[in-house]
Symmetry: C2
Subunit: 469 residues, 2 copies
């Protein structure tokens, strides 16, 4: 079948026999109502919704396998759905089909506190996981902001503020249970902390955005809750100084747990929203984890480094309420920003570059935003070289969206030119497919496509995402 | 072509036109001498040599690509060769063909000290890398014992003593240059510290043992040399106590850089070899990295934990020569052990289990060794739940080898039953292919085989390793 016929075939309405079979298995957990389909036809991106033909709520890996087997037999697309917080159109039903909502698969399968591992069903959210393990003295550090599901976080290779110390989902998923395109159930790994046993299926499915298999269980690493936590903030005369302070901090081997950057616009928005009077200059927010002596030492070293780079207003705090006060600027940034332009929608994009190029990349992107006349802020997980541009657009104004897209495209090209990546943590979805080719080149994309063809020969798993068929 | 015809076809002598073409390109770097073929037909495993038909020494990625293209056109096997230190028959030319020796591809491509990354050709060894970057104040921590090449370490997903703190090659390779089965050159990633851009090709090739592509360049993470290093040793009444001390150390969040275990036999061998008088009881060796205050604090905490678990003889040292004295037992263990049975050869196997099961796994394996009447020692990277059994066998005595293999097989089955893996760091090669099936199950193995078929449709890349065709 050629590409056009293939895509046309994917768009057929749901075959009646498939609808009947799914309805029989899932009963009142099978829905074709407009409201349910609309809810599952969108994510946090600015795309218009694209609706699946039906939505089912799975309760077990076996149910997912049964549904995928049926869809495979009919050549009908299957889209896995966690919490709908993806940002690049990952879960939109581009070719219709059946969306499998995994949010009710929210059981804790096993917590092995001695081994620092937990196994959860894919629908468990990161907050639920941390609530559940609170008594063990352990925590799961990956924090992408949204209260995403673990399955979705694995599927998009999520990370966030803690990644500089604890890594991303790439480093923190030990094993997955996956339903393959033909409806088989496989386990991709064990609870061993390391392994050289064959191809790394775990890492192959992590970040595959539901296009190679459907993740139904996730085994993750846990970490001891730090004995002490301290936080610090300080302001810098410019972005270059702030980034250089971070580079030196990391080169000194300070094991900083979080280091976040807010540009002038982010600080201005926060000042207005929280009625603060922070200097309207680039701001760094730090968090340190360790023993009381160790976090005091870390804060001391960082204060000295920051001072060398012209920082002012260094404050640090170790008591929880004081830490929260210092970090309020970061926690409220998104909502504060939205207030700058009521009625607007935020387009959030990200890229990641080697840290030596970060200041340059941010400053050139900032200049683009200014030239385009955008309302925006830049917020960065700066220890990893990863930053976000939040651009406020009028969703009904095509010109507004177009200029934001232009800034995004130029930022990605710039990042790739600096030996960086088109997305540090948001993923590809539909929105960054062209940039993926730009980043990897045809040979590597052909390799990715060969993997997709091998593991999903009928192209039923979240078709139209990551690589063109 | 069926399996038998396919394997027979692989065993044909090198076609004359291929030999002529390779000889033309590689000139005096093309060899078919018996000595050269024998040198490349073995590794550090106990397998009899299996010789390639020819050996070439590549100097560039482009040369590797040219050689692979020629071999692909003739359907002739290609085996990548780094330093020959693999342990499970990885580089043996099971079906003949051409071995590409990458050891002369030993150029440092780029060191980016600010970004904490280095890019090297595949033949650069870990010692060469660390020599070369010494002036930067950075180091590359992965230390599998042998002075392996970075390409080989990536291909086997190597790790070693530092993995408990710094991770394995899985966590420390950022990007690879790979020659694919059709002789194309691809880059699998960028120097960005994290990325959500598409399928994780880097992690797919890491650990693929030359069966999916040939790694020609490796970009790795570097780390700041610790300001202070201290070492400690102590003895325990039993294996359980030693392992429990380690579990508690890790649960307390002590960021130990190394923690190695030697069983009684290992200590006895060392006492004889180094004329020491260590208590002939399980021994733990620690290394701590950090600031002077931090390593002192770590040593203090670990001493208290060890004491709670009945440790005696706790010694710690921070000056280099004192640290070396304490760690001599670990560094000399392999040679000390060989002295226990002159003329013997060591069979070295490994497995990795969740740490809560480690003591049990070691003790049961130890009992098997005793019952089998083997001369052996058990040495573990105990912070990761990974341990080695070194068994001394008479290479000319089939009974001796058979009983060692039985102990190995039982150990692997035990580890898998504990939700562990058949190999923590040595890899699969030829020796652990059956165990790989036992560990992953048919569904996951079929998925691995689908990847192999997709990326190497002619089965020319190191055929006969990892998964059956």
């Amino acid at each position: 079948m050629n590409q056009k016929d293939h895509l046309a075939a994917l768009k057929r309405p749901l075959p009646a026999s498939l609808a009947a079979a799914l309805s029989l298995i899932f009963a009142d957990r099978y829905s074709t109502t407009q409201a349910m389909r609309e809810h599952h036809g969108r994510d946090e991106s600015s795309y218009d919704p694209m609706l699946p033909d039906a939505v089912i709520f799975a309760h077990s890996t076996e149910e997912v396998a049964a549904a995928v087997k049926l869809c495979a037999a009919h050549g009908v697309p299957v889209i896995a759905w966690g919490s709908g917080t993806s940002l690049e159109g990952h879960v939109l039903a581009l070719h219709g089909g059946v969306t499998i909502d995994l949010s009710q698969m929210n059981a804790m399968v096993a917590v092995h506190a001695q081994d620092l591992t937990a196994t959860v069903q894919a629908g468990v959210t990161r907050k639920q996981l941390n609530e559940d393990i609170r008594d063990t003295g352990l925590f799961f550090p990956i924090d992408p902001g949204a209260n995403a599901s673990l399955g979705g976080m694995a599927a998009t290779r999520a990370s966030g503020t803690n990644a500089v110390r604890y890594g991303t989902m790439r480093e923190n998923v030990l094993a997955l249970t996956v339903v393959t395109a033909d409806g088989r159930i496989i386990k991709t790994g064990t609870r061993a902390k390391k392994s050289s046993a064959g191809y790394d299926l775990t890492r192959l499915f992590v970040g595959s955005e539901g296009t190679l298999g459907i993740i139904t269980e996730v085994t993750v690493k846990l970490y001891p809750l730090p004995e002490a936590i301290s936080a610090a903030v300080c302001s810098f005369p410019g972005t270059g100084e702030a980034v250089n302070a971070v580079i030196q901090t990391i080169q000194m081997g300070v094991p900083v747990a979080r280091v976040e950057f807010l540009d002038e616009n982010g600080v201005k928005a926060i000042n207005a929203y929280d009625k603060l009077a922070l200097p309207e200059k680039p701001l760094l927010l730090f968090e340190f984890h360790g023993t009381p002596a160790s976090v005091a030492e870390q804060a001391q070293v960082v204060q000295e480094i920051a001072a060398e780079h012209g920082a002012s207003g260094f404050e640090w705090a170790s008591r929880p309420e004081e830490r929260s006060r210092l970090w309020a600027a970061r926690h409220n940034a998104y909502f504060a920003l939205l207030q700058l332009r009521p009625g607007s929608r935020a387009i959030s994009t990200d890229c990641c570059v080697p840290i030596s190029r970060l200041a340059e990349c941010i400053l050139e992107t900032r200049a683009d935003c200014e030239r385009a006349g955008l309302v925006y802020a830049i917020i960065g997980h700066v220890g990893d070289g990863n930053f976000h541009v939040q651009m406020l657009v009028d969703p009904d104004n095509p010109f507004d969206i177009a200029r934001a897209e232009k800034v995004n495209a130029d930022m990605v090209t710039r990042a790739i030119g600096m030996d960086g990546t088109c997305t540090g943590e948001h993923g590809v979805g539909m929105h960054k497919m062209a940039f993926l080719v730009e980043e990897h080149g045809e040979g590597a994309i052909d390799t990715m496509r060969a993997l997709k063809h091998a593991l999903d020969p009928k192209n039923i798993l979240n078709p139209g995402k990551i690589v063109r068929w």
